[in-house]
């Protein structure tokens, strides 16, 4: 029996996705220049109906963890398993209402505030500078 559970997106998997966006600077750029990408929907790899049956315990634990972690994100659910374990609502996607929420999810809120202050200070110095911050924002925030 193939083990399906290893491929499902867990909270830490989701966080890894968001962290990747943070590291690439996408999140901070969004902070200064909103692109309209939010609310952002991040699809989750989820159990199939068959694996709900064969790996019920794991699926339950997986869903519970995602549900418990909800707050900075909300969960979209789909109905799965009508023919196997009976119909169940399982998480299908995590939705971040705003970029701040997603930054909060990866625990970078303080860095984001710092970044904003720096961007504003730069703006005071020279009107052309904020866009520089926009080029490599993560480094800018880290450089502080």
């Amino acid at each position: 029996v193939p083990v399906d559970s290893s491929s499902w997106t867990t909270v830490s998997g989701l966080r890894a996705q968001s962290l990747k966006a943070w590291n690439s600077g996408t999140l901070l750029r969004e902070l200064l220049e909103p692109s309209g990408a939010y609310p952002r929907r991040r699809a989750l790899k989820r159990p199939t109906a068959a694996s709900l049956l064969s790996e019920y315990t794991a699926a339950q634990r997986w869903a519970a963890e995602l549900f418990a972690g909800a707050g900075t994100y909300t969960l979209e659910t789909v109905e799965v398993g009508r023919r196997t374990v009976g119909s169940n609502q399982i998480p299908a996607a995590a939705v971040f209402a705003s970029v701040e929420d997603e930054i909060g999810f990866v625990c970078k809120s303080r860095d984001a505030v710092r970044f904003r202050e720096l961007a504003a200070a730069l703006g005071e110095l020279d009107r052309s500078l904020p866009s520089l911050g926009g080029e490599a924002p993560a480094e800018a925030a880290r450089a502080g």
Partner: protein, 1134 residues
């Protein structure tokens, strides 16, 4: 279909055609030692790898041979012995073969007798089979050696496998009796020896090139394969494995029991809470009401002090008000007096003026008129008195002096007349008075006599009379015939003085009942038989003695006997004998006589006995019992009394008349005095005086009209007089008011004093809450009215009444609350006695109940619920899902198995150019479908929702598991249901599709409901079986894939199949098809069949094993070629 394609499909067949060397391992020889009824000595069945027939009569031992083969190839616990014969599983066992139980065969029929063993324990049983692969030129010998160490249970055994052709005679003998030595010997010969089946099976499977796990199971099922009824059941029972779900279900049920306990704990706690909550509320309500009651009582206790206090305050205010009013009235009074004095002066002045203005005569006239008016009234009175008296005396009214004088003249005459009348009347009156006195005396006498008589109307005490009445009722004797002695005796007239003494002495005798001899029997019987409820003395009266006269001066002489009684002589005798006491007037006499009696009732009897019983008054007639009926006498007295009374009435009437006349006379004498007192007519001449007054008035009018000044003065006088009158009236009123005011002041002072006294005794509480409540109640009771010093009493009583009502109502509600709460407590105790052993059903225990509730709500229920949730979500639902997953995997296995068979089927030509494919559909069986739904419902919505307390989920799970367990009354039904729905094979129905091999198009579809002939179905079943065997035995016919199984490459394959004749019982044609098919697939068949009906099989068979068991306990096996067999048969037939 080209021959080329057929070549690839049936390559094995071709090979045989070419070389004639049959491929794979085939059974060469079977040897049996001490196996079942094959007793003593080695029996050998030679097949030489060819199709063979095993035949013999019913009960000869065919199945025994087949079971020997299966015992070599399958673990003993999986074998259903005698399967081909359709026997029950328990009927034969490995042990029964080892011991040679031969009386338990089915052929004995009827009840099974206790099995009889052919061999004792310790005898060695060996089953040995030699399989030979001609292509590889290799032999493999499989053998099982068995011996029983005890009477019952499983025999000991070991398995051996040798890659050589062994035989029992050569290799399994001459080792001594110890099986261990045999093992050693076999090992030494190069055989592998195993104590358990598994490694042995692995070894022979390796040798035979069998890779599938189910190969041997299929082999086993093939043995017992029966006529084909329909495709679905054929596939289900023969192609698919049965699962053992019982254990899993058992585990489910076990886990569910834990959950159920947890659930019951929750329900119990909830129920307890539901019961305890109203107890708590009830107790709280009771406490609240009790508190209210307490408050109301406190308020009521404070009513009197509070109202008294209010009254005191209000009275003090009123007292001050009264003082102010008194002062003001005093002031007014002073002013008024001054004014009156002024007016009086003014009036005097005016009157003086009138007098001086000729008013002197007027004043005189007025005075005369006033005087004369008085005089006239007096005269008129006297006149009237005189006139009336004169009329009474027969004189004329004194209208004028002439009449008056005439009257005066007649007075002397009238006086004489009156004197005469008076004398007459006085005389008559004296006479009448004497008569009346006489009559009265007589009446008193009669009355006394009557009272005496009437005081004892019945003489005898009532109980005594009642007793006699009952006696007479009971015996039918007339009451008159049974007199009491007293009824016949009485004290003689004139001896009244001795009556008391006589009564006392004769009392006992008088109460004796006299019974004549003729009634004696009846009376004595009745008396004996009945409860008398009293005392009865009766005397039997026999022959009457001669009459005896009583002695002079004795008591007897003072007693009279009723006239005409038959008991007279008896009574005389009794009296003279028993009551001859001398009645002594003096105590000297009394002391002198031996038997004597005093008038005071002292009795002196024989032997110096004296008695005086004054417990009852001597003269109390109520106790007197002597005397007979005295009504006659009474009525005589009554008549006389009436007469005397009549006379008395007449006398009294006359007397009254005389007295009245005397009164009249007296009055007339008085009036005579009145008339005489008027000496002169002038004393009564009121008409003259009247005339004089008229004259004076006329004169006054004349004077008044003569003077205007006088008129004015008179007017002023009358005005001032009126004014004065008014003022004086006012002064009077003022005095009254002052008086009243003073009285009020005194009253209020008294009231204040009283209030202070009360408050000193019952001081007002300082509890502000109570006082405020009382004040509030008072306001409500007064409504619009205000409290004054006067209405405190009524207000208090109305508030008190209200409070009393409130308290009464509260008491009732308290009682009700207590009652209902205690009842609820009792209910709770009845339902949960264990929790309440130390708790009573009483209000005092409310705290305990509250603690129970508190414990349940804050601790137990959450704990139970948590446990329940955990048990439900973490254990039971997981178990159910695991069970579901297991069943699903079994379902997948079946699908896979069908796929495998289909793969194999694709390589078998069913009809030229066409092959068969099995198709599976989900069953339409309602139970199975609903079971799936129910199973899924248990886990529906459970993901991501672990913490929810779900009664519904529990019920869903319960519904399912209770059916697994078997509900009460439905056990058999549920058992059958469970077996059906949890057998995944039942989830499918199967059908077959005949397809064109080239194009894959369907040629025909076979379903169970398709109405195919039995032959067709069997043909299909053979095909499917062959395909399954080909797959499992690794014969490798994968359709067109070209990938041959491993077995084929190494030339190792297993080609031996045992089938039962019954399988081909349908039609010759289909049997022939099947045999041809097996032949095409190069399978060695061993066909087990009874003697009949083997003509279809014969052409396919080369060896025959003939089993015979003539004695029933010794089976023999003869090996023949088919030709020999035919000859033998012909010979027998011939």
């Amino acid at each position: 279909v080209t021959t080329e394609l057929q070549d690839t499909l049936f390559s094995l067949e071709e090979k045989t055609d070419d070389g004639g060397t049959p491929p794979g391992f085939r059974l060469h020889r079977l040897e049996l030692l001490n196996w079942g009824t094959f007793h003593q000595g080695v029996r050998t069945f030679r097949l030489d790898g060819a199709n063979s027939l095993l035949t013999g009569d019913i009960g000869s031992g065919k199945s025994t041979v087949v079971d020997a083969i299966t015992t070599l190839l399958l673990p003993a616990n999986k074998i259903e012995y005698n399967k081909a014969a359709g026997a029950q599983k328990k009927e034969r066992s490995l042990m029964s073969y080892v011991r040679g139980f031969h009386k338990s065969t089915r052929s004995t029929g009827g009840e099974y007798s206790k099995p009889v063993a052919l061999r004792s324990t310790g005898a060695l049983t060996v089953v040995l089979a030699v399989f030979h692969n001609a292509v590889l030129g290799k032999s493999v010998t499989l053998a099982i050696t068995l011996w029983a160490t005890q009477e019952a249970g499983q025999p000991s055994r070991f398995y051996s496998l040798a890659e050589a052709d062994q035989s029992i005679a050569a290799d399994f003998s001459n080792f001594g009796q110890d099986p261990a030595k045999l093992k050693k010997k076999l090992r030494a010969a190069g055989a592998s020896v195993h104590d358990t089946f598994e490694p042995y099976a692995a070894a022979f499977k390796r040798q035979f090139g069998i890779s599938g796990n189910q190969a041997m199971e299929l082999f086993h099922r093939t043995v017992s394969m029966k006529q084909v009824e329909n495709i679905t059941s054929f596939v289900r029972t023969n192609m698919l494995e049965e699962d053992n779900v019982a254990e899993r279900i058992g585990k489910l049920i076990h886990h569910f029991d834990d959950l159920k306990k947890a659930h019951e704990a929750v329900l119990r706690a909830k129920d307890q809470i539901a019961l305890l909550t109203p107890i708590k509320d009830g107790a709280a309500q009771h406490a609240k009401l009790s508190h209210e009651d307490e408050l109301a009582r406190q308020q009521r206790d404070q009513l009197h002090p509070w109202f008294t206090d209010r009254k005191l305050q209000l009275s003090l205010e009123h007292q001050a008000e009264l003082e102010r009013t008194g002062d003001r009235l005093q002031e007014d009074s002073t002013k008024l007096r001054t004014e009156i004095t002024g007016r009086r002066h003014e009036l005097s002045a005016v009157q003086e003026d009138i007098r001086t203005n000729g008013g002197g005569r007027l004043a005189a006239i007025d005075a005369d008129i006033a005087r004369l008016a008085v005089e006239s009234r007096t005269q008129r009175q006297r006149f009237d008195t005189y006139a009336e008296a004169a009329k009474d005396l027969g004189l004329r009214p004194p209208e004028d002096p002439v009449l008056f004088d005439a009257n005066k003249a007649r007075l002397g005459e009238v006086e004489d007349q009156l004197g005469e009348q008076s004398d007459e009347l006085q005389e008559s009156r004296t006479e009448l008075t004497i008569t009346r006195t006489e009559l009265n005396a007589r009446l008193t006498e009669i009355g006394k006599e009557l009272r005496s008589l009437q005081s004892r109307p019945n003489l005898l005490p009532l109980p005594q009379l009642e007793l006699r009445r009952r006696l007479c009722d009971g015996t039918g004797i007339a009451e008159a015939a049974l007199p009491y002695a007293g009824e016949l005796l009485r004290v003689r007239d004139g001896e009244g003085a001795w009556e008391g003494a006589a009564e006392r002495t004769l009392h006992g005798f008088a109460l004796s009942l006299l019974v004549p001899a003729e009634h004696y029997a009846a009376v004595s019987s009745w008396v004996d038989a009945n409860n008398l409820r009293g005392r009865l003395v009766y005397l039997r009266i026999g022959e009457s003695p001669a009459a005896r006269a009583a002695g002079e001066g004795t008591l007897a002489a003072k007693i009279a006997i009723k006239q005409g009684t038959p008991f007279r002589n008896f009574l005389l005798d009794e009296l003279a004998t028993r009551f001859d006491d001398v009645c002594c007037d003096t105590l000297e006499d009394f002391r002198r006589y031996p038997k004597a009696l005093t008038v005071n009732g002292q009795l002196k009897g024989g032997r110096g006995r004296h008695e005086k019983d004054d417990r009852r008054e001597l003269t109390d007639r109520r106790n007197f019992v002597l005397g007979w009926d005295n009504h006659d006498k009474i009525s005589r007295f009554l008549a006389e009394q009436d007469e005397v009374r009549g006379q008395l009435r007449v006398t009294e009437a006359q007397l009254a008349k005389v007295t009245e006349s005397l009164g009249d006379l007296g009055r007339q004498n008085q009036q005579l005095g009145t008339v005489r007192s008027v000496a002169d007519f002038g004393e009564i001449s009121w008409q003259l005086t009247g005339r004089r007054i008229e004259e004076l008035k006329a004169e006054k009018l004349e004077l008044e009209t003569a003077s205007d000044v006088l008129k004015q003065l008179t007017a002023k006088e009358s005005a001032v007089s009126a004014e004065l009158e008014r003022l004086e009236e006012r002064a009077g009123k003022l005095r009254e008011r002052l008086g009243a005011n003073e009285k009020d002041a005194r009253d209020i002072a008294e009231a204040i004093e009283e209030c202070r006294g009360i408050l000193a005794e019952t001081p007002l509480t300082d509890d502000g809450g109570v006082l405020a409540a009382v004040e509030h109640l008072t306001k409500a009771a007064l409504g619009d009215k205000t409290l004054t010093y006067k209405n405190t009493g009524t207000a208090e009583s109305s508030v008190r009444a209200g409070l009393t009502d409130t308290i009464d109502a509260l008491s009732k509600r308290i009682a009700r609350a207590a009652e209902s709460t205690v009842r609820l407590m009792a209910d709770f105790r009845n339902k949960y006695p264990n929790e309440t052993t130390d708790i009573d059903a009483a209000l005092e225990a409310a705290g305990d109940y509250n603690r129970l509730l508190e414990q349940l709500v804050s601790n137990d229920l959450p704990r139970f619920e948590a446990h329940f949730k955990e048990s439900l979500n973490q254990n039971t639902i997981h178990e159910v899902v695991a069970f579901n997953a297991f069943l699903d995997s079994r379902r997948q296995d079946i699908v896979n198995r069908i796929g495998e068979i289909n793969q194999s089927l694709a390589g078998i030509e069913y009809n030229p150019g066409r092959h068969i494919q099995l198709e599976h559909q989900n069953t339409s069986d309602q139970d199975v479908r609903e079971f799936g739904v129910d199973l899924r419902a248990c886990s529906e919505g459970t993901i991501g929702d672990e913490d929810q307390y779900s009664e519904q989920k529990y019920l869903q799970v319960e519904r399912l598991i209770e059916r697994f367990r078997g509900r009460e009354g439905l056990t058999t039904l549920d058992e059958r249901w469970t077996a059906k729905v949890t057998d995944v094979r039942n989830w499918f129905t199967f059908s077959a599709s005949e397809k064109w091999t080239e194009t894959g198009e369907e040629f025909e579809h076979f379903t169970d409901s398709g109405g195919k002939s039995g032959g067709q179905k069997e043909k299909l079943a053979y095909t499917i079986l062959a395909a399954a065997l080909a797959f499992q035995f690794g014969l490798g016919s994968g359709a067109g894939t070209g990938t041959a199984p491993a077995g084929k490459k190494s030339g190792r394959s297993f080609r031996f199949v045992v089938i039962d004749e019954a399988f081909g019982r349908g039609s010759d044609e289909s049997a022939r098809y099947g045999l041809q098919l097996f032949q095409r697939m190069k399978l060695q068949l061993l066909i087990v069949t009874p003697l009949q009906k083997i003509h279809v099989i014969e052409p396919f068979v080369s060896h025959v094993g003939f089993v015979a068991n003539t004695n029933g306990d010794d089976s023999q096996l003869r090996n023949m070629t088919i030709q020999e067999y035919r000859d033998e048969r012909d010979r027998r037939a011939g």
